[in-house]
């Protein structure tokens, strides 16, 4: 047991140490400005590296994924566990488990060759034609390889994960809570909103954070559809702009990173991603533990 604990700690220290060591050259070259810089130029003699666009790309694409994915996932979970009779709910739950196990590159392939055209035809172009002239958010001719597509496909990828965990969490709520609500004349909707969600909020939040963790770190799928802009261009000025995330630029460039600064810059992006995901995790844990904190003297 001490061995196992030692191993996990050892791996954490090892990863952290090599990431920090690997990113040292770029920090001595760019200094703290690496975090805020927007340029990205690997040409020797004109080198400039800044992480900001990719941090923005990561956060925006994940935010789109969460905004779309979380409500749909909760809807699916509520439908399966509260509304549909078991003979529908059980097979739907099973299908969702299968969807959750599909490797992300398959979602990526499908998105690249099929789905992005649908997004352009049915969502992006209508939005552009309707609001492109008035709302800056939509003011760009859509091609389908952009941050909006990436966000939607990420949402499709995380929906099975969030909804299957949320379903388990809703199933774990004792029936006595539902009965209490119904006995007060609550409708099914009111029971879900005012009794079940509050009861399970810590667990549901945990499910959403798990999905966020997947979205933030997802690499291949994003690389295939986000448009892979570089430098200041990767900061999306509209929903339909190509962008780049921390993990997708690493995946795009690790093969060509032959100079010290270039490879060090990519490792430093890895460090930023590491800090970002760790921050999300720790933040989520704090939030969850604050929510479930029980008043002294309380008992189940």
């Amino acid at each position: 047991m001490i061995g196992a604990a030692g191993y996990t700690l050892f791996m954490l220290v090892l990863v952290a140490a090599s990431v920090i060591e690997g990113s040292m050259p770029i920090f001595s070259f760019e200094g703290i400005g690496f975090f805020f810089g927007t340029d990205w130029n690997p040409v020797e003699g004109r080198e400039a590296y800044g992480a900001l666009p990719y941090v923005v790309g990561t956060l925006v694409s994940s935010a789109i994924a969460m905004a779309i994915g979380v409500p749909i996932s909760l809807g699916i979970a509520v439908f399966i566990s509260e509304i549909s009779p078991p003979r529908f709910g059980t097979p739907i739950g099973f299908i969702i488990e299968i969807l959750a196990a599909i490797p992300s590159i398959i979602y990526g392939l499908w998105a690249l060759f099929v789905f992005r055209f649908w997004i352009v035809d049915f969502i992006e172009r209508p939005l552009y034609e309707a609001f492109g002239g008035t709302i800056p958010l939509f003011a760009r001719t859509p091609f389908g390889l952009d941050i909006f597509t990436a966000g939607i496909v990420l949402a499709i990828m995380i929906i099975p994960i969030i909804s299957s965990i949320s379903r388990e969490i809703l199933k774990a709520i004792p029936n006595s809570q539902r009965e209490a609500a119904y006995s007060l004349g609550a409708t099914r909707w009111e029971t879900v909103w005012k009794v079940l969600f509050p009861y399970a909020k810590a667990g549901l939040l945990g499910a959403a954070i798990l999905g966020l963790g997947r979205a933030v770190g997802e690499t291949m799928l994003v690389t295939m559809v986000i448009g892979n802009a570089v430098g200041a261009n990767a900061i999306p000025d509209t929903l339909f702009s190509p962008s780049q995330t921390l993990s997708s630029i690493i995946a795009n460039e690790f093969n060509e990173a032959v100079t010290v600064f270039h490879s060090s810059a990519l490792i430093a992006l890895g460090a930023v991603l590491f800090i970002l995901t760790m921050g999300i995790n720790v933040g989520a844990r704090l939030l969850v533990s604050r929510m479930v904190k029980v008043t002294p003297g309380a008992k189940e």
């Binding site: 009779p85 009965e179 119904y182 006995s183 007060l184 004349g185 909020k201 189940e300």
Partner: protein, 277 residues
């Protein structure tokens, strides 16, 4: 009646009276008529018939598995929560058949409160919010009114003196007996006409049980109480009428005194005297 339009006819007293079932006319609050219930293919209730008078306490007794909990859950359509359950027959609340297709079960549950075997306060809510929960669900926004009803209900459940200084504490911080009285207060806040109690003291210690039994005596003045209990002494102490059930059938129903002192059926007599069950 050619001299009257159908609209006028619908407003006549005689027409309205004809809509009343005989439940109300005979002075009963709840009437159960030919009630059958199944779980899957297993029949849990067999042709149950009985009437409950207003402002009385009626006890349902019988050995485990006799269907008394199923019966009480059929009385406010709570049984429908169980997905395999089916119900046939009628239950009248005043003049309404609660199983009629045009009756909204939500309304029925508002008129017939329920208290469960295990106390089930809402864990994320304070004592105050637990009691106010039903009112808020029903769209009452007037804070002063809610406050008044919460106090009244907690007094009605004989919990007010114990919690009046800590209404903001979580409902789960109370003891088991207090939690059960909190659930009673929560049901009372809806101002139900009938209160259904499913073994409300089975999870409680004797002192807490005694408090709830006392409470039932008070409740009878305001509403009609139907209680399931596996404790015969409790039935004898608190109820005016007793129904003895066995294997899904209602064996005998009558005034409590008669059931306990002079039962008409041999089966009842054997159960009351502790020969089985």
């Amino acid at each position: 009646m050619s001299w009257m339009s159908s609209e006028e006819y619908a407003n006549t007293t005689s027409y309205k009276l004809s809509l009343l079932s005989d439940t109300k006319r005979r002075g009963y609050k709840v009437s159960v008529k030919n009630l059958n219930s199944w779980f899957g293919s297993k029949q849990a209730l067999k042709d149950i018939n009985f009437d409950v008078k207003e402002n009385t306490v009626t006890a349902l007794i019988g050995p485990s598995g006799c269907g008394k909990t199923t019966l009480i859950r059929c009385l406010n359509r709570m049984n429908e929560m169980t997905s395999s359950a089916t119900v046939k027959g009628s239950v009248y609340l005043d003049d309404i058949d609660i199983y009629a297709s045009n009756v909204d079960p939500v309304i029925i549950k508002r008129r017939m409160g329920m208290v469960f075997q295990k106390p089930n306060p809402f864990p994320t809510m304070s004592i105050y919010d637990n009691v106010a929960a039903g009112l808020k669900l029903n769209g009452i926004r007037n804070k002063a009114l809610i406050r008044e009803i919460v106090e009244e209900s907690l007094k009605g459940a004989v919990l007010w003196d114990e919690v009046k200084d800590e209404l903001g504490k979580p409902g789960l911080s109370l003891s088991g007996g207090q939690q059960q009285r909190l659930c009673i207060a929560r049901a009372l806040a809806m101002q139900p006409e009938v209160l259904l109690m499913d073994e409300p003291t089975s999870a409680l210690d004797p002192i807490a049980s005694a408090k709830i039994e006392e409470l039932m005596n008070e409740l009878r003045k305001e509403l009609t109480v139907i209680i399931v209990t596996h404790n015969m002494q409790q039935a004898a102490r608190v109820s005016d009428y007793t129904a003895f059930m066995y294997l899904g059938e209602l064996v005998e129903y009558g005034p409590t005194k008669q059931i306990f002192e002079n039962p008409q059926k041999e089966l009842t007599e054997r159960y009351i005297s502790g020969k089985f069950g």
